[in-house]
Structures are given as C-alpha cells and as structure tokens.
C-alpha cells in the first residue's frame, strides 16, 4: 500500500504535480524535482535512515533542531471542561462508550452546585483575553436541561465579568430538542453536535430508542427547526461508522443538503461490549468511501461551493499550517471531563473510568497524575507510533480507544492522510483561496 511505513522521517507521495515529500518533523511538505525524488525514494525503499538524513541535509531540508522533543509538559492550565450533566440517556445505541449513558453505574443527573463549581474551576486559571471552552455531554445532556441552562448562563456572566472568551458546545442525540432550546443555543452561539449515524434505516439500526424503536424521524423533526435557526449557532452532524452500514458519500450529501454546518465521520473502534467495532476489512471499505467523499469535496470546491466535509476541511487546514503535535487531543492536558458526581477524568469518554481518573473538583486536579499521563501518552513513547511518519498529524489516536482496544486503525489513518496530502497539493494549486488565513 502506498501509505506504508518505510521511514519515520517522512512520507514520499506522488501527485499529478510531481513527487512530493512530507517531513514528519514540523509537518513540512515539499514539491521535489525528479532527481531529488529518485534519490530520496531509494533511501526510503531501502529504509536507510542515515542516507535519507544525508540527502535532506544536501537538499537544505534538514531542520536545526527537532520540532518536538521527548520532554512532556509537566502541567497545563485547564482551558476546557466537559460536563456529564446527565449520566443517563433515552437511546440504546449498540456501541455507546457510556453504556447507554450511565457509564456502567447508576443513572444520575449532575446537581446544579457541581455544574457551577465546574464553571468556577474552568475560570480559575484563565485571565482576561484567554479563551475557555465549556462542553455539555452525557449521556444525553438535555435530560438535565435546567442544570445545563443555568450552568451556561452562569459561565456566560462569569466570562463577561472577567473578560474571558467563552465557547459553549453541546453534543446531543437530538431527540429532546425543543424550540426554546433552539432559541437558547442560538442566543449563546453554541456549537451543537448532533449524533446521526446515517439517513433513516441505517441510523435507526445503530441508534434506536431503548425500547427498540427507530429515532431518526423524531430527531429530524426536532433538528430541522434548529438548523433553520443557525446564525451564531453552528449545528454539525457526527456520524459514527459501524460495520455494514457504509454508504458515506450519500450520507454526507444528504446531511449537507439538510443544512448542517459541517458533517464528520468517525469509525467505531472501541465499544464496551465489542459490538459494532470496525475490523480491518471494514476499515478498508471505509477508507475507500472517505476518499470518495473527499473527491466529492474537491469537485464542489473547484465549483466554488461550500461543502463542509469536516474530516477533510480540518485535515487540509492542519496540513497547510503544518500542525505537528505529540498528542491526539487536549485530553488530560488542558481538557478534562467532569462526572455527575464532580470527579475529574482525562476526557468525556473516561467518565467513571479509573484509567483516566484525574482528581476531583473538591480535592483538585491531580497534578501528579496529569504529569504522568502527559509523559506516558506522549507520541514518542507510544508504539508503533514513534516509528510512524504520521505520528505528529495523528498524535497517536484517541487515548480512550487505544487504552481499551489498542490501535487497529493505523493503516486506515495513514491511508486517509496519504489521500489528504495529495488532495492538499491539488487544491493548493486549484483553489488557493481555500487556504487563505
């Protein structure tokens, strides 16, 4: 496969505009002349690291020092919290990491005091001009609507009083949304993510109500008015891809037509029961379909249309900037999940999971655990990541999935990034305005 591992230094990839090189260090992309490409290809094919480095030096492509060293940050200020305002849910999704909302424990709501204390904790380390992010997740957060609203209002007042920029977000299954919710979310400029696993039947099979009825029609009825209200608010769709339900291009097209601000797909890699997890063959099919979605995006962009396929738009912007990071996300660094009982975890997925425990609101963030987490989770100390060209774009993959299932999707991730790199080179030439700051 063209995106195979050869040298951890980087990845050579062909394009219609000639051969190109991604250097992992600093995520730098170069167009190559044919002679340089041939010499580098030889070093890459023979996995000769020393020769490859010598060539990079000769071509002036070596960097004076590594962009990312082995040193993990010892601590980071808290900049984002997600509140499990309701550890309960009205859906019975087959793969749910939260085990139908309760995270394997007692179904419960977050008390108001805990939500307000979380907001106070979020603002504790932020000063004027800083940006913080408050997310509401669950379970289904709208089950505990009064606490969600009061916490958001309180955060809004605190942000204004302290001169701190606040971003609010909500991840919902969409079944409980009301018109008043729409007004509230619009007023606060929420980023709303609605989980939808396809159109109609394919969604209903993955995300039924607890009694087995399909939820798609109900969600559609509730979400359409929300989509129409979008001004400050942005409503996105998140599609969890499970085996056998793989018609991504038509799903993407359908959801964009409905008016979602963006649409993104993620493969189901780790479920508590092992049900609906994607295997290698499923991921191969998914990769082909993601590339088909990408081709759809490229065509539309060339026609001058907005086509918000978020997996690709995010990847292209990161590739253009040269984003390079030693972690996949901010979990356990600047981002934490708060459980209904007020305990802190590495992210919303680790709620009530001892492997991601990080202290509590009452007793404080466990700085020792945070430092240990940041050290252990650094991509240089993850395997096989440290030898992979994609390590600084991928960051090692979702901690929760990796800790519970390992890394079954590396070929998929590399294959996807290989396509994104080629699409980047094409679009940089054809649609340079897309990359304007």
């Amino acid at each position: 496969m063209s995106s195979q591992l050869r040298l951890p230094l980087g990845h050579l990839f062909p394009t219609a505009q000639g051969p190109h090189l991604l250097l992992s260090d600093g995520t730098r992309i170069y167009g190559l002349d044919d002679d340089a490409a041939a010499q580098l290809q030889e070093a890459w094919d023979s996995r000769d690291q020393q020769q490859a480095q010598e060539l990079l030096r000769r071509f002036g492509l070596d960097a004076p020092a590594a962009y990312i060293d082995d040193q993990a940050p010892e601590s980071m200020p808290v900049r984002a919290l997600s509140l499990a305002v309701a550890q309960k849910c009205n859906l019975g999704c087959v793969y749910c990491y939260a085990q139908e909302g309760s995270f394997g424990g007692k179904a419960q709501n977050m008390p108001l005091e805990t939500a307000l204390a979380s907001v106070d904790r979020l603002f504790e380390e932020a000063g004027p001009g800083d940006r913080v992010q408050l997310a509401f997740l669950g379970g289904e957060p709208l089950v505990n609507r009064p606490v969600l609203r009061q916490a958001a209002d309180y955060a809004h007042r605190q942000a204004r009083r302290k001169g701190i920029k606040l971003g609010l977000s909500l991840t919902t299954n969409g079944t409980l949304l009301t018109s008043q919710d729409g007004d509230f979310l619009e007023r606060h400029g929420f980023s709303v993510t609605v989980s939808l696993d396809g159109l109609g039947e394919s969604h209903d099979q993955s995300r039924p109500f607890k009694d087995g009825r399909g939820s798609f029609e109900r969600i559609l009825k509730r979400v359409r008015p929300l989509l129409a209200k979008q001004r400050r608010m942005q409503v996105s769709a998140r599609v969890t891809v499970t085996p056998g339900r793989l018609d991504l291009p038509s799903t993407l097209e359908g959801l964009i037509e409905m008016g979602f601000h963006s649409v993104g797909f993620s493969p189901m890699l780790s479920s508590p029961t092992g049900r609906a997890e994607m295997r290698a063959d499923d991921l191969k099919i998914m990769l082909d379909q993601m590339i088909a979605c990408g081709r759809q995006f490229e065509e539309r962009l060339r026609d001058g249309a907005r086509y918000p396929f978020s997996n690709l738009t995010t990847a292209l912007k990161e590739i253009h900037r040269g984003t390079h990071r030693p972690y996949p996300c901010g979990a356990g660094g600047g981002y934490f999940g708060v459980s209904a009982q007020g305990d802190l975890f590495a992210c919303h997925r680790f709620v009530d999971d001892p492997s991601g425990a990080m202290g509590s609101l009452e007793e404080g963030l466990d700085r020792g655990r945070q430092a240990q987490w940041l050290q252990e989770r650094h991509v240089h100390f993850q395997q096989p990541c440290s030898g992979c060209w994609a390590r600084y774009l991928c960051g090692g993959g979702c901690h929760h999935e990796v800790i519970h299932r390992g890394r079954p999707a590396c070929d998929y991730i590399r294959g996807w990034l290989h396509y994104c790199l080629q699409a980047y080179v094409r679009l940089l030439k054809d649609c340079p305005k897309f990359f304007a700051p």
Binding site: I29, G60, R321, G322
Partner: protein, 261 residues
C-alpha cells in the same frame, strides 16, 4: 510546470526553507532585526528593476545595466526626474551649524521616497529624465513601471509576494554583508537595521541633547554622555563576531539594568 526545484508547499515548510545561495539570516527563525530594512534581505533592491528595460543602482540614481538594447544610450547616466519630479537635486545649506548658506553637492532622494508617487502605476508608462555627464544634457524617455506585487498565478491578482520580475534570484540579498555583524556595525543613524538602537541614554539640557553610541564599549554611569565615533571606544568587528551578546538591551531609550546575580 516542469519540476526543476524543491518547492516548499505548506506554511511550516516555507518558514523552514532556505533557498540555495541565501545566507542563514534569510529564515524568519534566524533573522536579525526582522523588519525593514532588516538583515534578512535588502529591500532597496526592489527598485533596481522598477523600470522595464534598464537596471538602476539600489541606492543611487545611476543606470548600471541595460536590458532593452534600444535604451543602451542611457548606460551610466543619472536618472534625474520622474513625471516631472526631481530625483536628483542640488542641495544648499550651511556647512556647519550657524554657517552661511552655500551650494552643497548634488544629491538624490532615497528611492522609496523618490518613487512613492509611481509605485501604484505598475504596468503604465511614466516620463523619465536622464542626465549625461559628458554632454551635460537631459534626455527624456517613457519607461514602463513594473508592478511591485506578483499577479501571475494569484487569485484576483491580490498578493503580498514581491513580483518575480522585480528581482533575479539572489538580488534581494546581494547587498548584504556576511556575516551580518558587518552591516550591524557599519550602519547606524536609525537606518540599518531599523530595529537596531543607535543614540542611547540621551538627556536633554538647555535645548541640547546628549547621549551615547549604542556600540560604545563598557558604558557605565561615569561614561561621558558623548556620541563617540572613535574606533577605540566602540565594539570592534571582531568583538561582534565573537561576542555579539555583549550588545545590551535598550529599554525606553536607556540601557537595561545590569542583571543581578
């Protein structure tokens, strides 16, 4: 387009890339005084090819080369006017403070000022006057002004990239000293590099301002407030090569306090 070079594509690659032949200070991360006129490139060189068909000196209104054979007669002549405005003028004034007004030498305006009125007329012709020192005659000719910013291959023709036709490879850096310390010691008077301090620790007394040269070695509270240009007082080239860190930070015009151990 044929692939005949290594082409940095994304932002991080462009920031790290050092084109073949460019000195180390041309990368943003290694730049010295990274603003105009800085030491990563010499901005004055964009004026050399501002008119199609001939090449000017980067600092003087002298025609140093000809690209259009029809203009061959202007080689070595002085550009003295553009669109009726003088580029070269006779300067008069006192030789010393309070002295009589007299004719001083002829002088030219710095390019960025002299040509400010035509920089937005890229693609159009303007009337230029050239002075031949042998015949002492001025001849006028219409020359086309080059655009400052690149338009080719740029969406809507909007770009902040200098036009390729303004400078050949290497020309933007050819007038820089290597190593950079030479430029840093050579040029002062709030000129080169622009962010380099010059007249420091100044005090005003009875309408007279006195202060010190930033390059004055071993400045202390008792060092006289005199702007010295004596080599013996100043940091030498070799001092700068070996130990440029001895140049002290200037905060609000004054030497930063010595660090407390």
């Amino acid at each position: 387009m044929a692939n005949n070079k290594i082409d940095p594509k994304n932002v991080s690659a462009q920031l790290q890339y050092r084109a073949r032949g460019n000195p180390p200070a041309t990368q943003p991360v290694t730049a010295i005084s990274n603003c105009f006129p800085g030491l990563e490139f010499d901005f004055r060189n964009i004026w050399r090819r501002i008119f199609v068909g001939l090449v000017l000196h980067e600092a003087r209104p002298l025609v140093v080369d000809i690209e259009d054979p029809q203009l061959e007669g202007f080689r070595g002549q002085l550009l003295v006017s553009v669109e009726g405005e003088d580029i070269w003028t006779q300067v008069s004034g006192p030789q010393v403070s309070g002295g009589p007004v007299q004719n001083l030498s002829g002088s030219s305006l710095e390019w960025a000022n002299a040509l400010a009125s035509i920089v937005e007329r890229g693609g159009n012709e303007v009337r230029c006057g050239f002075y031949d020192r042998n015949s002492q005659q001025v001849t006028e000719v219409n020359l086309q002004v080059r655009r400052i910013f690149e338009q080719e291959g740029v969406p809507d023709g909007e770009s902040a990239v200098l036009a390729a036709s303004l400078a050949q490879p290497g020309e933007l850096t050819q007038s820089l000293c290597s190593p950079w310390q030479n430029d840093y010691r050579e040029c002062a008077c709030y000129y080169w590099a622009a962010s380099r301090p010059d007249f420091v620790n100044s005090e005003e007394e009875n309408g007279v301002t006195q202060g010190q040269n930033w390059l004055h070695k071993d400045r202390g509270p008792d060092t006289p407030k005199t702007y010295s240009l004596r080599n013996a007082d100043l940091v030498s080239y070799e001092d700068l090569f070996r130990d440029w860190e001895q140049l002290r930070f200037i905060i609000r015009g004054q030497d930063e306090d010595e660090p407390q151990d």
